[in-house]
Symmetry: C2
Subunit: 414 residues, 2 copies
């Protein structure tokens, strides 16, 4: 039996995890796939003295590119400069590439998939969304018979850890962030996580796959969790909701509405119970209804699990592309509707001195709202949830309200 030769590019957390998992379960993997395979090269600019993989290291990418034995390469360097360049070169030579690089897929996925097809190889990225959670294949294979109506998900473990600390331990945002950093869940500059950019990239990948057109990050309305306070978390809890950073794409009559923002999630929605660094993605199809995929959204071993699965699939599909893993590169964004055109309910917290008269005013503007009981909260504030109407309309009504009271916070409901 011929042995498929694999190259690993980038030996950081995910890269080393993938190599270790591969060798740990090599026998099982080869049995399951019916093929022999081995890692021939590991490319990294750093030195790894004493590594058991010493015979595989190279600092020169060309060693891989020019090696005709290599049929699959795993790119785990991240970013969209060097990784982009390497990936294009490999695919152009007919070498399949698997990656955990969500940024590269979110910005250049359509182009790279097309390039792979042209060269009869594959570009796989199961590890780019949800760490080890199987979601890319289930979405484009198992749910292929469905028109996808909605994708909603908790796509970032760092922010979910912070919000979980706030909800369960009643710790303020800054303190929860500091703990996430202490535990290595958040980087020293945490902005890509807490401002939503990371979740946004993952949402773009899922959306592109589900809806068939490349959804670029700039098509998505994105806001993070910096503004969420313990007050909000506690009001939400009183009303039967958990505050979560939700990536959401809805198919509406006006087009796709794509947002990443904090939302109040009802305790009846399984996403509300997804805690700590766990991720979960809910997919609604016209046949299957709601399905949910849950697991560790990050971490060395979990992400390695997805990378190695992609390697196995790439080896099995040498010289045959997987046609269904594809989407169009859209030249315009006509298929995206303004997020404010979507119907939504909004949680609003306002300062007030005279609750009764303000309640009257709010009811006058909105017709009917759910006021959230105060329960150990400050007397001079009022929280309520609007009815389900177009966000434009809600904003108009809140503009009127702001002439009478200071609006401190607004958070959408899921």
């Amino acid at each position: 039996m011929p042995i498929s030769k694999i190259a690993v590019i980038g030996f950081g957390v995910v890269g080393s995890g993938a190599v270790e998992l591969f060798y740990k379960n090599k026998e099982l993997i080869e049995k399951r796939s019916g093929r022999k395979m081995d890692i021939k090269w590991i490319c990294d600019l750093r030195d790894f003295p004493g590594s058991p993989f010493a015979d595989k290291f190279t600092k020169n990418f060309d060693d891989i590119l020019n090696d005709p034995e290599i049929t699959v390469a795993a790119e785990m360097i991240g970013g969209k400069t060097l990784a982009y360049d390497y990936t294009k070169k490999l695919l152009s030579r007919g070498v399949s590439v698997v990656t955990s690089n969500k940024e590269l897929v979110a910005y250049h996925g359509a182009e790279l998939i097309k390039l792979a097809k042209e060269n009869k190889c594959n570009y796989f990225f199961e590890a780019s969304v949800g760490g080890g959670i199987p979601i890319i294949r289930p979405l484009h294979q198992c749910l292929a018979a469905n028109r996808i109506e909605r994708i909603s998900g908790i796509l970032n473990g760092t922010t979910n850890f912070i919000l979980t600390k706030m909800i369960y331990d009643h710790v303020a945002f800054d303190e929860a962030l500091a703990e996430a950093q202490r535990l290595g869940y958040a980087e020293s500059d945490p902005s890509a996580d807490i401002d939503g950019a990371d979740a946004c990239r993952k949402l773009c990948i899922l959306g592109s796959l589900a809806f068939g057109k490349h959804i670029y990050p700039e098509y998505v309305h994105c806001s993070g969790i910096r503004q969420i306070t313990l007050d909000d978390v506690e009001y939400a809890e009183t009303a039967g909701y958990a505050v979560k950073l939700i990536g959401l794409i809805d198919r509406t009559e006006k087009g796709l509405v794509a947002t990443v923002c904090p939302r109040l999630v009802s305790v009846n929605n399984p996403l509300s119970g997804v805690n700590d660094v766990y991720n979960a993605i809910m997919v609604r199809g016209d046949g299957v209804g709601d399905t949910l995929f849950y697991g560790r959204g990050a971490g060395k071993e979990a992400t390695a699990s997805a990378v190695v699965a992609d390697i196995i699939d790439a080896v099995k599909h040498e010289n045959a592309d997987i046609a269904s893993l594809t989407w169009e590169d859209s030249t315009d964004r006509d298929f995206i509707a303004p997020y404010k055109s979507a119907d939504v309910r909004v949680y609003v917290r306002v300062k007030c001195n005279d609750a009764d008269s303000l309640k009257g005013l709010i009811t006058q503007f909105f017709g009917y709202v759910d006021f959230i009981p105060r329960k150990q909260r400050s007397q001079n504030e009022l929280a309520f949830i609007t009815p389900l109407i177009e966000e434009y309309q809600i904003n108009k009504k809140l503009a009127l309200l702001s002439e009478h009271a200071d609006i401190m916070k607004r958070i959408r409901l899921l």
Copy 2:
């Protein structure tokens, strides 16, 4: 582009659902798969006057078997007599078969997969477990790099509906069953569901795939939910658990331990929140950790979603079998360990007149147990949860205890 011709065998709930979903989303399906396809035959012994598919019906299976145009057939007649015969004939001719028939796969899966491979076609059964929930492909493809440590799942919607009614509406078992029958969730003879046989078949399929050896239903210790009372449900709730019918396979040092039985599931386990007719399957891999797959476990549209996904995949893999979808047919059951050899905690409810002295005795037998507070319960009973020890040992201790008190119920914990 050539058109792949498909046959549908059995036009009941799932069969008609699959045909309807296929035509509803045909354009999308063909675009995604990059292939044209059409349903040529629908085989059923009944008449369907006025059906829009009138030109496709046949009562003669040989019309399908002898049609060289047919490359994929969907078997949705159920059972393991006629379905077994048809499937063997089709696979022997190199026609791929997809099915929702869990009974057939649980009893003859290894043989039929082997037959498919010998004839360079495929036998797919995504719809046989969890209705529309993607689980078969995620398990053998996306988690292929993992050594699977545990599979635990809520695999039967009928029993989960009944238990949910008991938990949330405090309705007794008989009444909950009657409602399930009224709503069409349970059959007039509900034994296959409530005694666990249905869940057992599904567990066998998942286990065979995950652990690589055919796990026959008779290898699984199986008990249903008939004995669960409102008392048990309420004690469980007090202690922080929900009673669920759980299919479980654990890899232990002694071998695989496979059971289907009611279990107390901690509220911290996501399975505890899976309600109504929903199913969920948790898979623990040595790389990925715990992943969970959730959705509607039954129903016309959901199951059709999985059947049509399999049809698409079978069409895409004409003349190429998917090597990883396989397991060995084991001639002995050495790899299965006796379920009583597993460590477990058990909830026990006993009759008692003198709680204090009985508590002393229980503590003496078990060292330490968690007594569940009575909270509006009868004074002359006592409920507790044993420590984690081998089930053989627990049974020995309970035998001793039964000399002093009447043991009314024992339910394992997950």
